[in-house]
Structures are given as C-alpha cells and as structure tokens.
C-alpha cells in the first residue's frame, strides 16, 4: 500500500509540472494561436536561471521563484516581438516549425556550454525533510511543489476567467481586431501573454530543479508528454489543461504501480482514444 501512495505522490508531482506547462501552452495557443514547441526549452531555462541565480548571484530559491520566471519571460517576450509576431495569420505549421527550431538552438547552446549531465540544485533548508502521514512518508519539498503548483494554476485560471484583464484576453482570442478598435493595445497584450505563458514554464523549471537536477535536455524529455496532456485537455482550454495535467500525472503514477510496462505510454494511449472520440479534447470547443 505504501508503494501505491508513493506512486500517487510521484504522479501528483509529475501532474504539477504537466499542469503548469500545459497551462502555459494553453494560454499561448489561445491568444497567439501558436503551438509553442519551445516551451520545454524555456522550462529548462527557468531551471538554469535558478541555478545561476544561486551559484553566481547567491540568490536563494525563494527569490528565484520570482526572478527566474521574470527573466525567462522577458526572453520570451523578445522572441515574440522579434520572431513570433510575424507568424500572425499563418498556418499553425509555421509556428510549430519556428518554435521547434528555437528549442533546438536554445538546447544546443546550453548543451554546448554545460554538457548533458545534470547540475545539482539543493532543496532550500526550509523545505528539507519529510512528514510521516501515517499511511506514507511525505517529503516536504514534493508536497510544496504540488500545493504551490495548484495555487499558481488556480490563480492563472482566476486571472483569465474571472477578471477584466482575462476578459480582454478571451475577447482578443476571438476577435483581436475589434478588441483593438475598443482602445486596447492588443499587440502589447499578446506580447505580455506570451511572457506569462513562458513565465509559467520557467516557474515549473525552478520547481523542478531540486527534484530532477538541471539539465539542457530536461525540457525535451517532458514536452512531448505535455503536448499529449494539452491535446487531451483541449487546445486553448485553461481549466482543461489544469485538470488534465494533474489527472494524467495521477493516472501515470497508478499505471506505474499496477502495470509498470505501460507507464510511459499510457498518456499517449489516452491521447489516441480522446482524439478518436472527441477530437477537440475533453474540455475544448470546436473551432
């Protein structure tokens, strides 16, 4: 039974990363209509930003949670202003190819300078150790990752679904020309939205650094699963991405316990089934 709970916890932690990353992808796809294949590389940059902040600047994990998303978010906004904005109105394929190319370049540069092996990033002192819950031992840092990710995901959902700014974002997703004719600077809003999506990826990278080590290809390993999560949840659906992210993490964890051979493929099997039954995803709407 202990092993089952342990796998459930692993599933929830993976689900946290899936949710944060797929949420960023959903935000970017909803607003920019771009399938951001660079998302994994930007997640990796978040982890590296935390690593450099600590080892070069002596800046702690707690500040890195704030600063790394801002730094990588600014990098993302520069990408949007200098490259992605020129893809407006073009087929999705162009965005996918461009961001895939950006991912390869970014990962290649980091691999060139830092090799392929992982760099260690210590768990902050306040989150070391664990708690005995009676039915399982819970490492505090892992519990923190799950709770913090959930709070950030729900905060992002609230921002987009329940605030005036979110209404601008949703409206601009439908008809950017008219929203701009109402006096809203839509190009600036698109840039900031891309920055927000990229910032969420970087935040996931910081959270991941103490668990998974900091590696140039850490995002490449994850991004394919995250895309499957987004497809299952429904492209562009905010709540769909959050729920599907956590749910698929848990399903993956349970599969590891009950039938480990399928644990790496269960997400893709689900993706195929969902595409066959509901091609727009579980919570997505038809275009």
């Amino acid at each position: 039974m202990q092993a089952l709970y342990a796998q459930l916890l692993v599933g929830l932690i993976n689900g946290s990363f899936y949710a944060l990353l797929s949420l960023g992808l959903a935000v970017i796809f909803g607003m920019l209509n771009i399938i951001n294949f660079a998302h994994g590389a930007l997640y990796m940059m978040g982890a590296f930003a935390a690593y450099f902040l600590l080892n070069v600047g002596g800046i702690s994990y707690w500040w890195a949670l704030l600063l790394a998303p801002i730094i990588v978010g600014i990098f993302g906004m520069i990408l949007e202003r200098t490259m992605l904005k020129f893809l407006t109105g073009l087929d999705h394929l162009y965005g996918l190819l461009l961001t895939f190319g950006i991912a390869l370049i970014v990962q290649g540069v980091f691999q060139n300078y830092f090799g392929s092996s992982g760099l260690p990033y210590a768990i902050p002192d306040q989150l070391k150790g664990g708690m005995n819950l009676g039915f399982m031992f819970l490492p505090i840092y892992r519990g923190w990752v799950v709770v913090f990710s959930l709070v950030v995901c729900l905060g992002t959902w609230f921002l987009i679904e329940k605030t005036r700014l979110g209404a601008y974002l949703r409206a601009a997703t439908e008809n950017p020309t008219l929203v701009r004719a109402f006096g809203i600077n839509v190009p600036r809003m698109i840039t900031l939205t891309y920055g927000l999506g990229v910032g969420l990826a970087a935040l996931a990278g910081v959270l991941s650094a103490p668990i998974n080590q900091v590696r140039p290809l850490m995002g490449a390993d994850l991004i394919i699963v995250v895309f499957a999560v987004v497809v299952i949840g429904g492209m562009g659906s905010i709540m769909g991405s959050i729920i599907t992210g956590f749910a698929l993490g848990v399903i993956e964890g349970l599969t590891k316990y009950f039938y480990p051979e399928a644990s790496n493929t269960v997400v893709f099997v689900l993706m195929v089934l969902v595409l066959l039954v509901k091609p727009t995803g579980l919570t997505g709407r038809a275009a």
């Binding site: 209404a167 949703r170 008809n175 020309t177 109402f182 600077n185």
Partner: protein
Amino acid sequence: MPETAMAEAPVKAATGGNILQVRNLEAWYGESHILHGINFDVNAGEVVTLLGRNGAGKTTTLKSIMGIISKRAGSIQFNNQEIIRATSDKIARMGIAFCPEERGIFSSLDVKENLLLPPVVRAGGLPLEQIFDLFPNLKERLSSQGTKLSGGEQQMLAIARILRTGASFLMLDEPTEGLAPVIIQQIGHTIARLKKEGFTILLVEQNFRFASTVADRYYVVEHGKIIDGFSNAELAANMDKLHTYLGV
C-alpha cells in the same frame, strides 16, 4: 451614374462645429482598391448617414476611419487631429467608437463582460443605469452568454457597450440589419435619444426609410466615392435620385 461636385466640396452641415473631416480617403483590401477618394464632413451633434448599395464602400469607409483597415491614404481629421496613420486602439482612445455590422458579441464572455469590455477612454460616458434605461432587456440577461441573446438584443448590447466608454463620436454599421420592425423602431428611438444627449453619429444604412427618421444629412457612396449629398429637409426632393442610386 451622375457624379456631382461632392468629391471636391462636401455638403456643408447646418449644426455644430466640424468634428470629422475626411479628404481624398483611399483604402485597399490587399491588392483590391476599395475607396477611391472619399470626401465628407461630420459636425458635432449630427447624425450623418452613408447610403449606398452593397459593396459601395460604406463599411470600408467606417473601418478606414477606425483604423481597422491599415492600408489607406488621404486625410482623416478628428477634432482637428490627423488620424490617418493612427492605429485603431489610439483612434478609439481619441473618442471614436465603432459598432460593427456583425455586432461582434464575444461568445466566451457573458453579457456583463461584453458590456464592460471596452475601456472607458474619457469622461462623459453613460452610466450603467442610463444604459439599462435605454436597453432594459440587457439588465435581465447580464449573466447570459453574449451570443445566446436574440439578434435584437445582441444589437442593443453592441450599441450599449460603446456608450459607456466616453466616446462622443459613434459609428454604427447597419444597426437595423436583419431585425424585426419593433426592434428597428427601438433602435431608432435610441439613436434619437443619443443625439439629444449630444453624441455625434455616423450611420451606415441601406434602409433609408429608417435612416430618414434619425438622420440630419445623407451622403451617397458608390464605387468607393461619395457621389451625392443632401440634408434631411432635401430628402423628399431627392427621392427619385435616391431610388436610382440604391436600385430600389
């Protein structure tokens, strides 16, 4: 079609000071040249109607003024400021509001969110109570999805949401299209009331019977040019010509 001296000298308006001055306005959709030198004026407090057949260039004229069509040339002066090179968000912030023909109600927003979407660009917009007084149906449907409203309610919502922004110059593109007579009448009353409140309105209409109940002046658009213009008092005398222009 008789081409008058309109292209060179717009009809003089009778009411307040000049608020919009359009000169030699040309516009393109990609390679298609749509407007070929539009000239007209709108004065403060007036309701001016652009009449013309489908495809004459009426909607394109509104979209060009609003900056929605980026490929344009000539001169558009609003309150003596040149706006031909301004982006649509800047134009909106100068006090021009646009209600599109297709209404542009957002399906992902409820009625209240649709209503509150356009930001207040300056003081002087109608408070919500006054908007609900004009359109009582909207108050009852605030939490409904915007696109679940009837056609008439959607048109009311599309007009209502630009009234609270503080814009004093409203451009309404075919607000009566596809609506029941009783709703058309209600929209006519609304336009008349807005005029009394001091709004300046540039209306695009194919239904000149409706336009005649609210407009002070008319311009006739054909093939991307203004080919004629007259005041409401001259409407009866120009009826035959108008029938010819509009093909009715």
